[in-house]
């Protein structure tokens, strides 16, 4: 068992454990912080697959921007206490059963593949290669996404503006 395998299992356990903590903690602030840990573990997986650009973008965009936005909203609404009073245990049980069934079905269908995966090598994920692809072949979708961001920004402002 080489260092790659050890790192893979460690990061997988970290991601899955903190994902479970996200959906079980009562306090939303703890959930947000555990989700940040999950995103860091996923970034570790990207580094392990030598997708360096995506690893950095994942940390900056997800763990940095999006999670801070979540944390900001949770703190703004003063939700750092338990706001879910009592729950229907039967519905919870049904949710866990259906999610687990989906897990088993997908796993049984897909786990028999034999293909190998390139770890820690290949220069496809580097900033240089991806930048050339992005600005040669995908420059039009890149510009379109700026329009998407502009409309999302205007939409967020319009939605959260207080009506008179």
């Amino acid at each position: 068992m080489g260092i790659t395998q050890i790192l893979f299992w460690f990061l997988s356990a970290l991601a899955l454990g903190s994902a479970l903590m996200v959906i079980t903690r009562k306090n939303p602030v703890h959930s947000v912080l555990y989700l940040v840990v999950t995103f860091f573990a996923i970034s570790g997986h990207y580094i392990l697959m030598n997708a360096q650009f995506l690893a950095v973008v994942n940390i900056i965009v997800y763990a940095g921007a999006i999670m801070v936005l979540f944390l900001f909203v949770v703190m703004l609404m003063n939700l750092n206490v338990n706001v879910e009073p009592q729950k229907n245990k039967l519905l919870q049980f049904a949710g866990v059963i259906s999610g687990g069934s989906l897990f088993l079905v997908l796993l049984a269908a897909l786990v028999k593949t034999k293909a190998l995966i390139e770890m820690q090598s290949g220069d496809y994920g580097l900033v240089k290669t991806l930048g050339q692809t992005l600005f040669k072949d995908y420059v039009f979708p890149f510009e379109i996404s700026s329009v998407l961001f502009l409309s999302a920004m205007i939409g967020a402002v319009v939605i959260s503006k207080r009506e008179k």
Binding site: L35, F70, V73, E84, F149, A156
Partner: protein
């Protein structure tokens, strides 16, 4: 490393997100579980792109692998825009019903 471990990990993360969406009632946590599912899919896309880098049949030109990772980058872009609008909707909902419990949003029911 075989691809099946990454498939298993991505499926487990995705189903964790689904269970969270189905069992929690706090709108913010439901939204966070949606983000978790998006990240599981991103991880699987990157793993498949690295699988094509080793593909023996020769269909994998370098641009195929880079294309997949640019695709993941665009998913992240769309997710960031989605979070901005979604959190604005949740703030609006909190202003109207003074709660983020999704069970209070049943005015369309009757």
């Amino acid at each position: 490393m075989e691809i099946k471990y990454y498939i298993g990990l991505a499926i487990a993360l995705f189903c964790t997100g689904i269970i969270g969406v189905l069992t929690r009632r706090n709108a913010i946590i439901i939204f966070m579980c949606v983000e978790l599912m998006l990240n599981a899919v991103n991880l699987l896309l990157v793993a498949f792109s690295k699988m094509h880098a080793l593909s023996p049949v020769g269909i994998a030109t370098p641009s195929v692998v880079s294309d997949a990772q640019v695709f993941v980058f665009f998913i992240m872009v769309v997710a960031a825009a989605e979070v901005a609008v979604g959190l604005a909707i949740i703030v609006m909902m909190y202003r109207n019903v003074h709660s983020v419990d999704v069970n209070f949003l049943n005015r369309l029911k009757n």
